[in-house]
């Protein structure tokens, strides 16, 4: 059995969506949601050195999703970020990539595509 090696930080405001994503990610043997946060303020309490991939909605209610992606790459150069949101236009995609996201994905993707993107994101580091 493969060891759970990739520790995820999952940051999106919606409780139901976030908890459901955590359940789905945790079904994968190589992924583990280690921390969840509903806002940038909550995510800042997480020890970012302990994560491999941050899955972040850039459009968080306190407005700092992009800033959080930047903070992840500064605090932990070995970690990567994936921007995931239902409302991603071309400008937001560019901003997320500019902030350091290795993958930018619309939530209209299938959950399997999201999981593949998390793995690609982890390998990119």
């Amino acid at each position: 059995m493969a060891k759970k090696t990739k520790r995820l930080l999952l940051v999106t405001e919606h409780n139901v969506f976030r908890e459901a994503l955590a359940v789905r990610f945790n079904q994968e043997e190589d992924l583990e949601v280690a921390w969840q946060a509903a806002s940038v303020a909550n995510a800042r309490n997480v020890h970012l050195n302990g994560i491999d991939v941050a899955v972040v909605d850039p459009l968080l209610p306190d407005g700092g999703g992009l800033e959080l992606i930047r903070e992840v790459s500064v605090a932990n150069p070995n970690a990567s970020s994936l921007a995931l949101s239902p409302e991603l236009d071309a400008a937001m995609r560019q901003q997320a990539l500019g902030a350091g996201a290795t993958e930018v994905l619309s939530a209209s993707s299938s959950i399997e595509e999201v999981i593949s993107a998390v793995r690609r994101s982890a390998k990119a580091q």
Partner: protein, 146 residues
């Protein structure tokens, strides 16, 4: 027990995850996902007891056909609306609330099935079968003396 998830396409990843979560915590529940625009057609074919959908539900509501309905607001500033049987409430929604709605809908489904008239095989067993093609519900009145 069947649960239908119906949201707009931009929430597809979340719906896939929700379907997984429901199956993980309530493995006996059958879960299907449909694009929100096909809600009414899918209610007809899948015949769910619970629909979880984004508000507002379509003009021609499917509500009356269901034991339970969750209008799950993707906007966390807006409340989500729940109905199970005759009970209605609004709340911002942790996953646990969704599972408790599934459990209550299952309970109501079980009660409604217990109160249904006997099925055709059961009618035969009770000696109440009167003819080919007649529905079991025609046999709810027991003959005198039984």
């Amino acid at each position: 027990m069947r649960v239908l998830l119906a949201f707009e396409e931009e929430y597809r990843a979340y719906l896939g995850a929700m379907a997984t979560a429901i199956r993980e915590f309530r493995s006996e529940v059958e879960v299907a996902i449909v694009d929100g625009g096909r809600l009414e057609a899918e209610v007809e074919s899948f015949d769910p007891q619970l629909v979880i959908t984004s508000p507002p539900i379509p003009e021609n509501p499917v509500d009356e056909q269901l034991i339970a309905l969750i209008e799950l607001s993707p906007d966390t500033q807006q409340p989500s609306r729940f109905r199970v049987g005759e009970k209605h409430w609004e709340i911002t929604t942790p996953l646990g609330e969704t599972l408790s709605v599934i459990d209550e809908a299952k309970r109501l489904l079980r009660i409604s099935r217990d109160q249904e008239p006997p099925t055709l095989p059961r009618c035969r067993e009770l000696g109440l079968y009167r003819g080919v093609g007649q529905r079991a519900s025609l046999f709810t009145r027991l003959p005198r003396g039984r």
